[in-house]
């Protein structure tokens, strides 16, 4: 550890946050969730916009999709993740993350598996439409299927 300096530094959070007063954690979380609820419609609008773009550009209906960079798909799926909890419990964000994982594996392997992309896009649409009405087990099964697809592709690299 030669040259390493350890020191106590000012931590205003520790000084002020633990002071007298303040609000209880349970109440703070409740208020924050209520504040987030105000953004729910905007979040859903962003999710729907990105889903439509993903389908239009990377869906099987676009004959020119092979010429597109998967970076754009990654970016669009990231926007769904960023939209943050617009459809809680739908599994949509996890699915968007799975899309990013698939793109990452495709980049690493320098390949592009359109069948796998089609499955992911179809799953995004299903979860958007019905994700919140599925049971946790059903959602988990669907998402596990996606991660299995990606793991298989990763193993083929």
């Amino acid at each position: 550890m030669s040259g390493a300096i350890f020191r106590r530094v000012p931590n205003k959070l520790a000084q002020l946050a633990r002071g007298r007063g303040g609000i209880a954690v349970g109440e703070a979380v409740k208020r924050a969730n209520a504040a987030l609820n105000d953004l729910k419609d905007a979040s859903i609008a962003i999710i729907d916009e990105q889903l439509a773009e993903i389908d239009r550009l990377f869906g099987s209906c676009n004959p020119d999709r092979t010429g597109l960079s998967l970076d754009l798909l990654y970016e669009q799926a990231s926007q769904i993740i960023d939209a943050g909890g617009g459809l809680p419990g739908s599994g949509l964000e996890e699915c968007a993350r799975a899309v990013c994982d698939l793109v990452s594996v495709s980049r690493a392997n320098n390949t592009c598996d359109w069948d796998a992309i089609d499955v992911h896009i179809a799953t995004l649409k299903v979860l958007r439409a019905q994700g919140q009405s599925l049971t946790a087990l059903q959602r988990m099964t669907v998402l596990k299927g996606l991660s299995d697809v990606t793991a298989k592709r990763a193993g083929e690299g």
Partner: protein, 202 residues
């Protein structure tokens, strides 16, 4: 070494006097951050859309904590964190930093830890998850370490032994530029296992 205690619903935090700096290039994600912290009773927050604007605010002084998105065009949240820890003047250099990210491959989480971030949180930003990290920062007594290869809160963690067939895992071993993600995303609990300090027998 610090241990982190679980936050209980009855615990209290007083955040109305704390100055938050929120950084995200995505306006909606920035608004989500702002809504969450305002729900916690935070009155003073500065919202900026990128690292350059964040640096200006930090140089102006008075920021008590930084919440930054990881993936931003140009200078990302990791570069901003590195700048805060290595270039920013004191006491800004010591400001707690929480990285918020939509993508959590182990390489990214490890990089965040090794450049001195206090915590990494996976998106979507959940109020309870963020508040728990603020609680930990408020109650932790981690010392600040300044060394050639690392500047940030003491990061000594559970000793799991070096990975098989590897020569080392110091931050000096990591490349500054990660490039595109090539690993699966970690869950929040896996991220915490990498980030949280814990009492260890060395």
């Amino acid at each position: 070494m610090a241990t982190l205690r679980r936050m209980l619903d009855g615990d209290k935090l007083k955040l109305d006097g704390i100055n938050f700096l929120l950084v995200d290039d995505n306006p909606h994600a920035l608004q989500i951050m702002a809504q969450v912290v305002s729900g916690f009773g935070v009155r003073n927050m500065t919202k900026v859309d990128g690292a350059a604007a964040a640096r200006q605010e930090l140089l102006r002084g008075g920021i008590d904590i930084v919440l930054t998105d990881a993936q931003m065009p140009g200078e990302n949240g990791y570069k901003l964190t590195e700048w805060i820890r290595r270039v920013a003047p004191e006491p800004t250099r010591y400001v707690p930093i929480v990285i918020v990210t939509g993508h959590t491959p182990e390489s990214d989480v490890t990089l965040g830890r090794d450049i001195g971030a206090n915590f990494t949180i996976a998106k979507p930003l959940l109020p309870r998850v963020l508040l728990q990290r603020l609680f930990w920062i408020s109650y932790e007594d981690r010392q600040f370490v300044q060394a050639e290869g690392y500047v940030g809160p003491d990061r000594r963690f559970k000793r799991l032994g070096p990975p098989a067939d590897t020569e080392g895992r110091r931050c000096d071993d990591l490349k500054g530029d990660l490039g595109a993600a090539s690993q699966p995303n970690l869950s929040q609990s896996e991220i915490d296992a990498l980030m949280k300090p814990a009492k260890v027998a060395l």
